[in-house]
């Protein structure tokens, strides 16, 4: 399953916001093509910040990040959009555009990449049907439930078949049945070569699915192979001091 090509690599990465303390310290990791990782850690441990670094919304305060073999620090700004199009992101707060329909929200990445309209419509309809939202296509996010929004957000992230999928609590607002269905969707994507990093608080998922775990604790990252850990219980809030 693992072809060995490097998708993302962090070397001694640190991140601080403004003049505040470092919230991520000396993060080093290397994710290979086709890998699947859980990202865990208590609330405030920096999971979302780490994901933001991965989807190039932030620059690190120090250290090196390379995405698909390209050093981000030396990549010209004009060459970042093609890199970002290879990354699908599911946000914790969905970040759907309220005045666009579910269909238009999901179609957005295709529209940005210049796909023709017929192709957009058929692909998006098919995917929304798959995530069980075929009857909600023309509804706008404000009238969708939390779980429906979550599925629209996931559909938007995977519509372009990204090489790297970063999901921040993608099962946080859905029931167990939908959560399992979404996990199977992620596994299907993973089987066709998509590298997946899934941030979650859901201990059942982490324990039931046998994937490596990136665990953030006290600003640092530990990497556990499957079977090296059993997530039983941790502090709900990270002690950062």
């Amino acid at each position: 399953m693992f072809s060995g090509a490097e998708v993302i690599k962090f070397q001694n990465v640190g991140l601080r916001y403004g003049l505040g303390p470092e919230i991520l310290q000396d993060i080093s990791l290397q994710l290979e093509e086709g890998s699947f990782h859980f990202l865990t850690g208590a609330s405030g441990a920096g999971k979302s910040s780490l994901l933001r670094l991965m989807y190039l919304a932030h620059q690190p305060s120090r250290g090196l990040i390379s995405l698909f073999g390209q050093d981000i620090a030396t990549t010209p700004r004009s060459e970042l959009p093609p890199l970002r199009r290879k990354v699908g992101v599911v946000f914790q707060d969905f970040r759907l555009i309220d005045h666009l329909t579910a269909l238009e929200n999901v179609a957005l990445p295709l529209q940005i990449s210049g796909t023709n309209e017929n192709e957009i419509k058929s692909n998006v309809s098919e995917l929304l049907d798959w995530v069980g939202l075929s009857d909600q296509m023309n509804n706008r996010p404000p009238i969708l439930s939390g779980g429906q929004k979550q599925r629209v957000a996931i559909a938007r992230a995977v519509i372009t078949r990204p090489k790297l999928l970063l999901a921040d609590e993608p099962t946080g607002n859905v029931d167990d049945r939908i959560a399992m269905r979404l996990m199977h969707l992620f596994e299907e994507l993973n089987k066709i070569g998509t590298t997946i990093v899934l941030a979650t608080h859901n201990k059942t998922l982490v324990n039931d699915f046998i994937y490596p775990r990136l665990h953030l604790q006290k600003r640092s990252l530990q990497i556990y192979k499957p079977g090296e850990y059993n997530w039983k219980g941790e502090l709900d809030y990270e002690e950062l001091s």
């Binding site: 989807y55 919304a57 932030h58 005045h99 957009i120 938007r156």
Partner: protein
């Protein structure tokens, strides 16, 4: 979907005040441009009318009701007609001279109550491309008749042209200031909208949108607002133009130039309705690209 504006710019405050501001600026631009165009065409007409014409005044010598001696007058006329550069020399009838004096001396002059020595006036047309030495002509005439005046209108024309140049300069300055004000307003409105929608722009970037994609969204909307404001301003400008024309024609003053424009001049004025959206769109595009170049 392809052409849909993704950013909800229609709800911004800018979409309410920018068209009105642009309309006001376009209104000013229409009036300033109309002034420039009308003055330019009239200046050219005055130049054509007066260049190649001179006026000669034969003095009346102050005798009661004696409009210059006939002998002096005939001498001047015969001398003028002998000069090869002169095409024609005709006396302006006394009635017409009196009519020209009414605005300065009042209607009493027609009743004969004012016993003024009115000179006899000769209008001289110079042949086209011929060069007449006006100074030498004056010297020749004054050797025989003391007090003859030769007026080639150059002093009056120079002052008139200086005035029209000044008005044209001020109008051009107004056009320039109006353009700068429009650009500044669009920059301000665009930057405000960029701040309001920063979370959505951030999302578009994360999804892989280029700056040009975002700029295109702003550019299209700014063009729409500019066009709306432009049409409104043109309408206001034309209405003002006709009201002023109506008031001017009612005043019946010989000092006011008729407010008429040729077809090409109307096209020029209407073009402002296209210039306004063009300025808005280009400014908005450039502003977005400049601001976004500073983010990751």
């Amino acid at each position: 979907m392809q052409g849909k504006i993704i950013l909800p710019l229609t709800g911004d405050v800018a979409s309410r005040y920018v068209p009105w501001f642009i309309a006001f600026m376009v209104w000013l631009a229409v009036l300033a441009l109309a002034a420039v165009l009308i003055l330019s065409s009239h200046t050219e007409q005055w130049r054509n009318d007066l260049t190649g014409n001179i006026t000669i005044q034969v003095p009346a010598h102050g005798e009661e009701k004696n409009p210059g001696t006939e002998e002096d007058f005939r001498y001047v006329l015969s001398l003028l007609r002998d000069i090869p550069e002169i095409a024609s020399a005709e006396e302006i009838p006394r009635d017409q001279v009196i009519k020209l004096l009414i605005p300065w001396l009042g209607r009493e002059i027609t009743s004969g109550q004012l016993l003024l020595p009115i000179p006899r006036i000769i209008s001289v047309k110079i042949k086209s491309k011929a060069k007449l030495d006006v100074e030498r002509l004056w010297e020749m005439l004054n050797k025989k008749i003391n007090g003859v005046q030769v007026d080639d209108h150059q002093v009056w024309l120079a002052k008139l042209f200086a005035l029209t140049d000044l008005i044209e300069g001020i109008s051009s300055l107004i056009l320039l200031l109006v353009s700068i004000a429009c650009v500044a307003t669009v920059i301000f409105a665009t930057r405000t909208s960029l701040n309001i929608h920063s979370h959505l722009i951030d999302l578009l970037h994360i999804i892989g949108a280029r700056d040009e994609f975002v700029a295109h969204q702003f550019c299209r909307y700014a063009m729409f607002l500019g066009f709306k404001g432009g049409l409104l301003g043109i309408g206001m400008g034309i209405a003002t133009f006709f009201v002023v024309d109506l008031l001017a024609s009612g005043a019946n003053s010989s000092f006011l130039v008729p407010l008429t424009l040729s077809l090409s001049q109307w096209v020029c004025i209407m073009a402002i309705a296209l210039v306004a959206p063009a300025i808005s769109a280009i400014t908005s595009w450039a502003t977005v690209l400049k601001v976004l170049s500073r983010v990751m």
